[in-house]
Symmetry: C2
Subunit: 196 residues, 2 copies
């Protein structure tokens, strides 16, 4: 069977992925059924397979896309001549932006990657590990240049990445805190601490 990817098909596939991201976020990958996904699109389950190859392919698309976006941003940040602090701030703010603009997909990539099949699982984890290592290098250079305290780069990166990841909890409570306050206060906290 020849596979002709029409513009219309490509668009529909994107819609399926988008709906899948929402469903996977709410139910988790394993508990989300293809029948339920089809329901949200107003079609029968078997019809899904006109647009996608499998359930697992949906998860792959989401996880790979997100991993690539973060890597691409780090490439940009890394190539600027900014100070270490400015680079770290830029990364933090990018994570916050991603969480706001691609919440479902970021959430799914963060929580459901374990259901990826090999070799994509290894690819994904390697890419994440590489991302962390590059951030650690930025921190280490900052320490060397005395821009930063004499801190452990691993713990620093772990703390920062974990904190920004926690924005997923904020998403449901938007009302109380504006994005500006959130972004600025978190950046400030992670750079300058909270003690007066």
């Amino acid at each position: 069977m020849a596979k002709i990817q029409s513009g219309k098909n490509a668009t529909k596939k994107e819609v399926v992925i988008e709906k899948a991201a929402l469903l996977f976020k709410v139910k988790g990958y394993s508990a989300a059924s293809m029948r339920e996904l089809a329901d949200t699109l107003g079609i029968e389950a078997p019809s899904l397979y006109n647009y996608i190859g499998s359930k697992s392919e949906l998860l792959q698309s989401i996880c790979i896309k997100m991993a690539n976006e973060f890597t691409a941003n780090l490439n940009i940040v890394d190539n600027t001549a900014e100070s270490t602090v400015a680079k770290i701030e830029a990364v933090i703010r990018f994570h916050i932006q991603m969480m706001i603009n691609n919440f479902n997909e970021v959430f799914v990539a963060n929580h459901e990657w374990k259901h990826l099949k090999e070799p994509l699982l290894s690819d994904f984890l390697n890419q994440r590990r590489n991302y962390e290592k590059r951030l650690m290098l930025i921190v280490e250079i900052g320490v060397e240049k005395k821009e930063l305290k004499n801190i452990n780069s691993y713990v620093t990166v772990l703390t920062i990445l974990s904190a920004v990841r926690g924005l997923e909890f904020w998403y449901g409570h938007k009302k109380n805190v504006t994005q500006q306050v959130l972004e600025n206060d978190m950046v400030n906290h992670l750079l300058n601490g909270i003690i007066n």
Copy 2:
């Protein structure tokens, strides 16, 4: 059917819960099967039901137990006459300790609570929300007393809780960083920042 809880039964039930926590962590609640759980115990799946009522009961036990442990610790911390900073430090260190001593169960409570059934799901979320609110109050008092900067209490608590939660990533890489370095550096980062 009379339910007689013998000491031996109680012990075996605890073993089942312990193995379930490990399995739920590795596979996720939905993808973990009772047959696989039985396998790790060297018995057949139906035999599990001599010790437990259902799969969902296992998740409940884990989530409720963890929620109660964190709440109990906060009760203790809250009743001390320590400074705000000392209280926050105590909470951070307790989270780190819990992550180290009850890793599987903390992980499952953090990741799989969404599969709880009502009304336990609401109970769990209420308890967590309450925990966060009490931490926010500690921060607010610290701000009032000028112990802390004029920071948003919600963002501060979110940042701290998210950071300590991220210790789950450290768990697999223990070798590189000792617990002492991790604990002290993270406390320092979250209180004092990283800028020199």
